[in-house]
């Protein structure tokens, strides 16, 4: 089984976000970069399928040379090789990025293309659907359970209030959600081996974006709340405030 996993380097989830000098993105000083957490579930699922059915897992990621550190993290989990699409990632338009990914993915003969359901920086959740549409492939996003057997797949997809059970044929694109699996730790051996694995670099020119971030800002600071310290004795006053001041109950 030939599997690709598209990953994105994102700031750590504990990052205290600040506005950068451009006013259009975050300040990157002091940011700890990680594999987008949802992508780790994608990598883990790909590795388990390759272990079960045989085959290779290729990591695909778009960005400058500085993302190779994050790509090596994915290789340390056990992925076999990687392709870095060399491009500046200043664009936030996922349509543009999807076209560059597809330019590499279309010739790979992949049975499955995994990615996280969304990246935790831009939070757009478009990439699985965008890539699938461009390649005319089935796609299931927000997947919490996946079964692949005999060229067919079934996936359990999370909804707001339940689950959909979806069937499809391979090749297909899968957007991994949390709880799909438990991503493995990188072993020392894995980290050592990752240093020797090949990262192929492919050049790409990105289209002009059609969705542009004009500015970013921090949400308005919240006023100090009314905090009561007498426990259950304060319940009636708080209920009164919720009714009369906040008018929410």
């Amino acid at each position: 089984m030939n599997i690709a996993v598209c990953i994105k380097q994102t700031p750590d989830t504990t990052t205290r976000v600040k506005v950068g000098d451009s006013g259009k993105n975050i300040a990157e000083d002091g940011v700890n970069w990680i594999i987008n957490p949802y992508d780790e579930f994608a990598i883990e699922e790909a590795l388990q399928l390759a272990e079960k059915h045989g085959g290779e897992v290729t990591i695909v990621s778009l960005g400058p040379a500085s993302i190779e550190k994050t790509i090596r993290e994915a290789l340390a989990m056990g992925a076999h090789k990687a392709i870095r699409i060399n491009a500046e990632t200043s664009t936030h338009d996922p349509l543009v990025v999807s076209k560059a990914l597809v330019s590499v993915l279309k010739d790979g003969g992949y049975d499955l293309i995994f990615m996280g359901r969304q990246a935790i920086d831009d939070d757009q959740g478009q990439m699985p659907s965008l890539v699938a549409q461009a390649m005319n492939l089935p796609c299931v996003t927000v997947v919490v359970e996946l079964n692949i057997e005999g060229g067919k797949g079934t996936a359990r997809r999370e909804l707001e209030s339940g689950y959909e059970n979806v069937s499809f044929s391979l090749p297909a694109v899968v957007g991994a959600n949390r709880h799909l699996n438990e991503p493995r730790y990188r072993s020392l051996k894995g980290i050592m081996q990752a240093k020797k694995k090949k990262i192929e670099v492919v050049e790409a020119t990105l289209d002009a974006p059609q969705m542009v971030v004009e500015s970013v800002s921090l949400p308005p600071a919240k006023q100090a709340g009314k905090i009561f310290t007498n426990g259950a004795a304060d319940a009636s006053e708080v209920v009164r405030l919720l009714r009369e001041e906040a008018k929410v109950i």
Partner: protein, 323 residues
């Protein structure tokens, strides 16, 4: 005349409440741009839903029915939306930023080669341009984005607009399109727990953290949720421990929600959790640790033992509702 096309979602035979929010956004946008609001209904068994769209101001409802739409498939639905957009020459296409809406509109973006503002919370006009505000980093950052393509595509987060009825005469138009065969199909839907409220569409959410000490203690939280007609949520450790089903997990790697009132019970308020609930209108926190970060995000807080505070709140609200 240019139109704003609202793609209305019917899931498992039900009209999704998010449709009303998006139609309300469309009404406002129509006021700002001079466009008219149309709605698009896709699928089969759509009787009665055109009336729902007209109640929220859709002057025309375009209906696309086809046997290929019997079972939901994002690829065929996206093809239907794209087809209807081409036929109707819409200037703006809107849908709810539900899991399904985000999936379908992403595909539409690729088919039409148009930009998409995903999961917008609001918009403002900048001359003729629409600037959408959308959260990044689970709401730790807000971005204003523009879309230069025609049509402009956007999804609005459920609850981002308070639904306002604007009844107009029902006018429908059937549209037949040459649709592709589905690439994937939804074989079945498992609704969680009967008539349990959808956490992303609920007005009030009562949410529990590790402070509840174990799944066996959720009764007091559910009683409070019951009297408030609220949905239930939880923090990440609670879902990781398996105390609660993971669809209840709220936060940066779970669901992001925007209720009128969010009640955090025994949740310390990790930055990832706060990110997922920060667009709540009001936050009430109950925690025994007065230093817990959740109190910094809260509008109201009670420092105390939640095993005493929650039943007391339930009693007070019962009294209020019966008076």
């Amino acid at each position: 005349m240019a139109t704003i096309l609202v793609v209305a979602e019917v899931q498992d035979g039900s009209w999704r409440p998010a449709n009303n929010d998006v139609l309300t956004a469309a009404q406002k946008l129509a006021g700002d741009t001079g466009h008219t609001v149309n709605a698009l209904l896709i699928g089969n068994g759509l009787d009665g839903f055109a009336e729902e769209a007209a109640r929220y101001g859709a002057e025309k409802v375009i209906m696309v029915s086809d046997e290929k739409l019997n079972k939901f498939s994002p690829d065929v639905y996206a093809a239907a939306v794209a087809g209807a957009v081409r036929e109707s020459a819409a200037a703006v296409v809107l849908m709810g930023a539900t899991f399904t809406g985000k999936d379908v509109m992403s595909r539409v973006s690729q088919i039409l080669d148009c930009g998409l503002a995903q999961d917008a919370l609001s918009y403002r006009m900048d001359g003729d341009r629409i600037l959408f505000t959308r959260p990044m980093y689970a709401g730790k950052l807000l971005a204003e984005v523009s879309v230069s393509s025609s049509p402009v595509l956007a999804t609005f987060r459920p609850k981002s607009f308070k639904p306002e009825e604007k009844p107009v005469a029902v006018a429908t138009e059937s549209l037949s399109l040459d649709l592709p065969a589905p690439l994937s199909v939804v074989e079945s839907i498992d609704a969680s727990g009967g008539d349990k409220l959808d956490v992303t569409e609920a007005d009030i959410i009562v949410s529990g953290g590790r402070g509840l000490r174990g799944p066996e203690n959720w009764g007091i939280l559910e009683e409070l949720a019951d009297v408030l007609n609220a949905a239930t949520g939880c923090s990440r450790p609670v879902s990781d421990e398996g105390w609660r089903p993971h669809e209840e997990h709220l936060g940066q790697t779970g669901k992001t929600v925007s209720p009128e009132l969010y009640i955090a019970c025994g949740i310390s308020g990790a930055i990832q959790h706060l990110a997922g609930i920060s667009s709540s209108k009001f936050i009430l926190a109950i925690n025994k640790d007065e230093e817990a970060p959740i109190f910094k995000a809260a509008d109201y807080g009670i420092v105390g033992d939640l095993f005493e505070v929650l039943p007391a709140l339930t009693e007070e609200i019962k009294k209020l509702k019966s008076s």
